[in-house]
Symmetry: C2
Subunit: 88 residues, 2 copies
DNA sequence: GATATATATCGTATTATTACGATATAACGA
DNA sequence: TCGTTATATCGTAATAATACGATATATATC
């Protein structure tokens, strides 16, 4: 399958940040709401939300609303394999 | 193996550019000198050289000198699998 | 409706990346 | 040594990404 360089480089760019990489790895196999991530990461809420927005806009994650909470989960099938590759 | 987020996000950042992604894919399985890439990509020589420098500094490619020519080739075993993943 | 909680968005200063012409360096052949 | 070819580096203007406080919005509870 021919690669869409512009599109796939956007995907990689979204993952190419230490905080987002950590977020994505943390979301493998389980969903998580924003507040939990804020606490786990020790970063300002606005910063975490901004990073999540980037991951969402690239289709890497998607959300599920649960009352007032927003639960994020992985939405791209390739992510798990990609993260696994990085650990080698 | 636990991921070094800073290190691996640097790897992804180096790949997260349409031109560099195209370069890397073009180098899968075969080496190529700078001038050939300049012609193939239709970009200024300084631009191509700058991108190659980024790929090299992250260990994604390495070089072999052949007289005046510099031949670039893939140097990271994970790259082929990563590119393959992107095409899915 | 008032309040508290969860999250998103805005504004913006700082820092990083990009593109590319100009210039430098290095190897080769005449 | 000169000229040519191949490549790297420099300088820099333009653009993009980042961090994060302030603020807005939405939902639940009382």
């Amino acid at each position: 399958m021919p690669i869409d360089y512009a599109k796939e480089s956007e995907l990689l760019k979204a993952l190419a940040h230490p905080v987002r990489l950590r977020m994505v790895e943390g979301l493998l196999g389980r969903e998580c709401n924003v507040n939990k991530m804020v606490k786990a990461l020790g970063l300002p809420q606005s910063t975490v939300s901004q990073h999540l927005g980037i991951l969402k806009s690239r289709g890497i994650v998607r959300i599920r609303k649960e009352g007032v909470k927003t639960c994020y989960r992985i939405n791209d099938d390739r992510i798990a394999a990609l993260i696994k590759l990085l650990g080698k």
